[in-house]
């Protein structure tokens, strides 16, 4: 369950949040991401596009596993890669539109909210949210900047994918894999860059993509698909009972 409350420097003066990764938000096989993370994501994860259940619009996402709650990057209570998507890093915080604020039609003001039911919340250990004088802690400031990066990043993501869709540069991809134990996985609802359409794109539109910064994002997505073999390898390791080796750089997934 999620129990979101707007953060308040008085009410939550003594609340602490353990900066450790939690199962609660790791048991998921698709996490939505924003293009500004692509340069870091591309080092580890396959990036695709999925459709938002609310709007049907394409949004970038990384694939973490082959079953609904399977995250092959998360083992023994920790992420084993150096970079964790912002959408995970922000937990257990989110932004909520402020009620009744602003004139109709304007962008609503957003408040930082906290999921009180999260097991990482306590009063003894962990990062404080507020200093004694009520000012936000460095930890909370970092969280706030992650949240605002997600807000503007998500706007960029929709501009990016909206333009890709208009140019017919997105196509559905079906993933059928067979693992070492002969079990199979079929993934649907994933999309990627239509390479043939990209090759055939007229120069003017290619230049437009470059000028808007979309071109590099698009190539990051295409390159990231190479990690699919790594993802299958991780799954095969799990299936063969081999424990995924912890990498030296695989530290805590707290806010960067």
């Amino acid at each position: 369950m999620v129990n979101l409350v707007v953060l308040d420097s008085r009410t939550h003066r003594n609340v602490r949040v353990a900066p450790r990764p939690s199962r609660e938000w790791a048991e998921i096989n698709v996490v939505s991401v924003v293009p500004r993370e692509f340069p870091r994501l591309v080092a580890h994860y396959p990036i695709f596009f999925t459709k938002s259940a609310e709007s049907g619009r394409f949004e970038p996402a990384v694939l973490l596993g082959f079953q609904r709650t399977e995250n092959l990057f998360f083992a023994h209570g920790r992420w084993d890669v150096a970079y964790v998507p912002l959408q995970i890093q922000r937990q257990p915080f989110s932004l909520m539109p402020r009620r009744g604020a602003g004139p109709a039609g304007s962008q609503p003001s957003l408040d930082v909210a906290l999921d009180l039911d999260c097991s990482n919340i306590q009063t003894q250990e962990g990062e404080r949210l507020f200093l004694d004088d009520g000012a936000p802690s460095k930890f909370l400031q970092d969280i706030t900047s992650i949240l605002s990066a997600l807000v503007s990043g998500s706007r960029e993501a929709y501009e990016f994918t909206g333009r890709l869709a208009e140019l017919n540069l997105v196509e559905p991809v079906r993933i059928d894999v067979e693992f070492v134990d002969r079990s199979e996985a079929k993934l649907e609802g994933l999309y990627w860059i239509a390479a043939a359409a990209l090759k055939a794109l007229p120069a003017a539109q290619l230049a437009e993509l470059r000028d808007r910064g979309f071109l590099e994002w698009l190539y990051f997505q295409m390159a990231s698909v190479a990690h699919m073999s790594g993802l299958v390898a991780r799954k095969n390791q799990v299936l063969s009972g081999v424990t995924a080796a912890r990498r030296p750089e695989g530290g805590n997934a707290g806010p960067a």
């Binding site: 459709k51 938002s52 259940a53 609310e54 709007s55 049907g56 619009r57 394409f58 869709a165 017919n168 997105v170 196509e171 559905p172 609802g189 999309y191």
Partner: protein, 550 residues
């Protein structure tokens, strides 16, 4: 610039074809010449029919210019569109896709909503529980197995449609047939649209003129010039232009300027079979932005006809079609107002429009080089929304049959006329079936509708056959039937028709599979109604976000 087939009479219509041939002397266009190419098409009338035909032909034959096809649509500014017909069949999705418009644009600009079938209320015996469905999704297993005899022997509690088709559950909850993530023109259940006909024609016009190179002329036709060989040479317009063409398509509505006034093809009235000849129509605003939008057309039987109730995104369209032989205009209006009052929709601001309906069709819609599409070809009461689907079928047939040269015109006309005469007859049969199966005794309209002399032989013979045999694929001979065996099953068994299937023609294997199909249908109904959004909810989100093409 696309060519316009306008020309001066002293200029040849097209470069001469064949060696050694000379252009005809001025004033004697060789329009009927056998080897003359068919590449100039003039469409008369800019309503739903005109623009669907223009869109289908222009998208199928996209080459314009000297070695292409020239398509011109001429319409009068004087002629207001009829603009009542708002129901479509699922074929419309393929038609819109063919024309090349986006479903998102169409839904937004035509105030369209999703339609998944029809609900008939009080058609059987006028009791309070009297309702049945005609959904667009085919019965389960329809390709392989006829479930009807096994449904009939099972003495089922649920109605036929609800037993064999998961879609009735979606309709009764006013759910959408798809998700926001479902691509354009695809669905989890088969669907069509309710649309605002007044907005549909301008929407298609914009696309046809802007994207497909159709020439558009506002003018009036003052004269139709014969070519002396049984065809039309050109049209003379009020502003003095001549519009010559190889094929003229009459989409001029009830006026039937070419097929009726010029060619003199007689209109065959169907009023002895289908008694409806008038309508009262009204537009009803929604009470608020959250009021559900029904995803089926609701047809509620009245004393001498029936009321249609159609939900668009912007408003509802409601109307009473009735027979003036049995009911006066005033009494009909009272009945319609009572229908609205019972739903809390009656107010003093409503304006009711009286519309004449002349059920019938022309037995020949293609004569010489003139073919009629839409109301000029025929119209039957709107009971099963057959008007727009007939336009689509006509446009598709013309595109498929379009001869390369004038010599092929006669054969194309013969095939077209045979096909469409058959289609009109089948629609008449299918509409009449609803009245024949009614057991209402509360008015002469209903009783007279069951009189044997008002029932076409073809329908009577089919119904005799169905007393011991459930309708099935082979009962219908054409490749593309307007109403398939599935539709007949939904109406027959929805209205309580009894088929006593011969027991020796049934078997346990099919019986078991039928049972499985029925439980699978129930499972799908539950699963889909949990997953699908409300019709209004999805339409609102499409307005905001659009649908993806893939």
């Amino acid at each position: 610039m696309p060519d316009r087939p306008e020309q001066r009479p002293d200029e040849p219509a097209a470069p001469p074809v064949g060696a050694g041939e000379q252009p005809a002397p001025p004033g004697e266009q060789p329009v009927g010449r056998g080897d003359q190419p068919v590449r100039r098409i003039v469409i008369v009338g800019g309503g739903t029919a005109g623009w669907i035909v223009a869109g289908v032909l222009a998208s199928r034959y996209p080459r314009r210019g000297e070695d292409g096809v020239a398509i011109t649509l001429i319409e009068s500014r004087q002629q207001p569109p009829i603009g009542v017909g708002e129901g479509t069949w699922p074929t419309i999705r393929a038609t819109l896709k063919q024309i090349g418009v986006s479903e998102t644009d169409f839904l937004r600009e035509c105030d369209a909503s999703f339609k998944q079938g029809s609900q008939f209320v009080k058609w059987v015996d006028a009791s309070d529980s009297d309702t049945y469905w005609h959904p667009f999704t085919l019965p389960a297993d329809y390709a392989d197995r006829n479930l009807a005899p096994y449904w009939l022997e099972g003495l089922p509690q649920a109605g036929f449609a609800a037993s064999v088709c998961f879609q009735t559950e979606l309709c009764s909850q006013a759910l959408a047939p798809k998700l926001i993530t479902t691509p354009e023109f695809a669905g989890l259940a088969n669907y069509a649209y309710h649309l605002d006909a007044g907005k549909f024609a301008p929407f298609l016009q914009k696309h046809c003129v802007g994207k497909l190179g159709v020439s558009h002329v506002y003018d009036e036709i003052v004269q139709v010039q014969s070519d002396g060989h049984g065809g039309i040479a050109h049209l003379v317009t009020k502003s003095g232009d001549l519009l010559a063409a190889d094929l003229f398509i009459d989409c001029s509505g009830f006026a039937a300027l070419l097929i009726g006034k010029h060619c003199g093809v007689p209109f065959r009235s169907m009023k002895d079979v289908l008694f409806i000849d008038k309508a009262w129509a009204v537009q009803i605003p929604y009470r608020d932005d959250a009021a559900p939008i029904a995803s089926a057309t609701v047809s509620t039987a009245q004393s001498s006809g029936w009321v249609w109730d159609i939900g668009l995104t912007s408003r509802r369209g409601v109307g009473y079609v009735f027979s003036s032989n049995y009911l006066s205009d005033d009494r009909a209006l009272e009945e319609l107002q009572a229908y609205l009052a019972a739903r809390g929709d009656l107010s003093s601001e409503l304006s009711f429009r009286n519309i004449p309906i002349n059920s019938g069709y022309r037995q020949e819609s293609w004569v010489g080089n003139c073919v009629a599409v839409g109301l000029s070809a025929g119209f039957l009461e709107p009971l099963e929304a057959s008007a727009i689907v007939m336009i689509e079928l006509s446009a598709k047939s013309i595109a498929n049959l379009l001869p390369g040269c004038r010599s092929g015109m006669w054969q194309a006309a013969r095939i077209f006329n045979d096909t469409f005469r058959y289609r009109w007859e089948r629609i008449v049969d299918f509409l009449k079936l609803h009245y024949v199966l009614s057991r209402r005794t509360d008015g002469r309209f209903w009783i007279d509708n069951r009189r044997i002399e008002s029932i076409p032989d073809s329908l009577r013979e089919a119904m005799d056959y169905w007393r011991h045999h459930c309708p099935w694929h082979e009962d219908f001979s054409h490749r593309e039937e307007v109403f398939s065996a599935a539709s007949y099953q939904y109406i027959l068994y929805g209205m309580g028709f009894q088929t006593s299937a011969a027991p020796w023609l049934l078997n346990d294997d099919d019986r078991n599979r039928a049972r499985e199909a029925l439980s699978e249908t129930a499972r799908r109904a539950t699963a889909l109604s949990a997953a699908l959004p409300g019709n209004r909810d999805l339409l609102t989100r499409i307005r905001r976000y659009g649908l993806q093409k893939i």
